[in-house]
């Protein structure tokens, strides 16, 4: 079947089998390999993308769900358009050492951006609750929490400018 959707701001039309998972479509057909497949059982969160602005696990999403929708992947995350800078949440993860091996990081960032967009004044408890679906085997989470708090603050500040 043919589906058309907006992918990181660009109109996209692809032919897919209905049984195609969005994570597969992104990585194998569209060669956007920033979206990682960790567990492939919708537990680890490495594959989180934004579907119509909401965080979803792309390993547990059938491609037909994209038809007519807007999809944002880690490749589409950026700072102010034209600035050639990273997104404030990415900057925060670098600044606060919110990653070690980096495998979970694309999903962490997508979940974190969704959290901070939904609730700009995040508390630490909100962040811990909000990251329940994202697993990191390196950091012990502390620096990820610090990064998300800082990134959320930076996003709020950037919005206020």
């Amino acid at each position: 079947m043919q589906i058309s959707f907006t992918l990181n701001g660009r109109p996209t039309i692809v032919d897919v089998e209905p049984a195609t998972l969005v994570a597969e479509l992104l990585r194998e057909q569209l060669h956007l390999t920033g979206t990682h497949i960790g567990c492939d059982t919708s537990q680890c969160g490495a594959c989180v993308v934004h579907l119509d602005g909401l965080p979803v696990k792309s390993c547990t999403l059938l491609a037909p769900a994209l038809d007519g929708a807007t999809l944002l992947t880690i490749e589409g995350l950026q700072g102010a358009p034209g600035s050639n800078r990273m997104h404030p949440m990415q900057e925060a993860f670098r600044e606060h050492h919110g990653l070690q091996c980096g495998f979970c990081t694309p999903g962490m960032l997508m979940t974190a951006v969704a959290l901070a967009t939904e609730k700009p004044d995040l508390t630490e408890a909100d962040v811990r609750h909000g990251l329940e679906g994202n697993i990191c085997r390196c950091t012990g989470y502390q620096n990820i929490i610090v990064s998300v708090m800082a990134g959320a603050a930076a996003m709020s500040a950037a919005k206020g400018e």
Binding site: D40, S42, Q43, V56
Partner: protein
């Protein structure tokens, strides 16, 4: 996954017809249970009927004495709904505890209720509030809907369109979650109405169930102390790698007390 045909009907009668036209076809709502099931090849339906294009299945309406939630309303929408937060805050709290944010973006109340996972959260809220399950053909009382392990009163071709909740005086939910899956090891929903109290338990057994002795005690005195001494029988409860039946039985009382606390807020 094995290949399947995929239908995206825009009208409920079309969905019902597609569902029954090819044997073993399945409905897909948010897909949070179905897609993992397909991936593990525990099911291989010849066709999926996607309910997401049926606009009439989404949304929350306040009808005065009841709140009606469309079957395709995602958990995140219920959790953040001003109507639900104001009228049945215990139900909004339950929705906010399901899975993780990504699951709450996609998973729907209708899908959860139709699937009737023995450790799902919504069945406790639906039974605890004595809600009505509205389908394309009839209305079913919660007390007659949940029949046991993944089994409901739904007939072949029947599609849940909405759940209608009576507004309680007070309601609360508490769950002890399995840390990895965040499913309820034991979850208890408590609701107080003018006519009495309802207590519904999920996670503990093969299906959601009520606890009449707790309902009677709480109807007399809606306070955690009223049920502190009530123990439920571990016979028939679930024992698995997560917990033994006697531990689950113990947790029912603990979670019921916390649910009353939450309801008293």
């Amino acid at each position: 996954m094995k290949p399947f045909a995929y239908h995206q009907p825009h009208q409920i009668p079309d969905a019902a017809r597609l569902l029954t036209s090819v044997a073993d076809s399945k409905l897909v709502a948010g897909g949070m249970t179905l897609i993992p099931t397909l991936k593990q090849r525990l099911a291989s339906p010849p066709a999926l009927v996607d309910l997401s294009r049926l606009g009439s299945l989404k949304g929350i309406t306040d009808d005065g004495t009841t709140i009606t939630i469309g079957a395709m309303t995602p958990h995140a929408v219920v959790a953040a709904s001003k109507v639900v937060l104001t009228r049945i805050p215990g139900l909004a709290a339950l929705a906010s505890m399901i899975g993780d944010p990504a699951v709450r973006s996609r998973g729907t109340i209708g899908g959860s209720v139709a699937n009737n996972d023995p450790a799902a959260d919504y069945p406790a809220g639906v039974l605890g509030l004595g809600a009505t399950i509205v389908t394309n053909t009839r209305e079913i009382a919660a007390d007659k809907f949940f029949l046991g392990l993944f089994e409901t009163a739904l007939e072949p071709g029947e599609i849940i369109t909405a759940i209608r909740f009576p507004v309680p005086l007070k309601a609360g939910y508490a769950k002890f979650k399995a840390p990895a899956s965040r499913y309820a090891l034991v979850g208890v929903f408590v609701a107080k109405f003018a006519g009495g109290v309802r207590v519904a338990v999920t996670g503990a057994g093969p299906g959601v169930f009520r606890v009449p002795p707790m309902e009677e005690a709480l109807s007399e005195n809606f306070d955690p102390s009223a049920i502190a001494a009530i123990r439920i029988d571990a016979e028939g409860l679930t024992s698995d790698i997560h917990a033994e039946a006697d531990y689950r039985a113990h947790l029912v009382t603990v979670m019921a007390k916390r649910a009353v606390d939450a309801a008293l807020g």
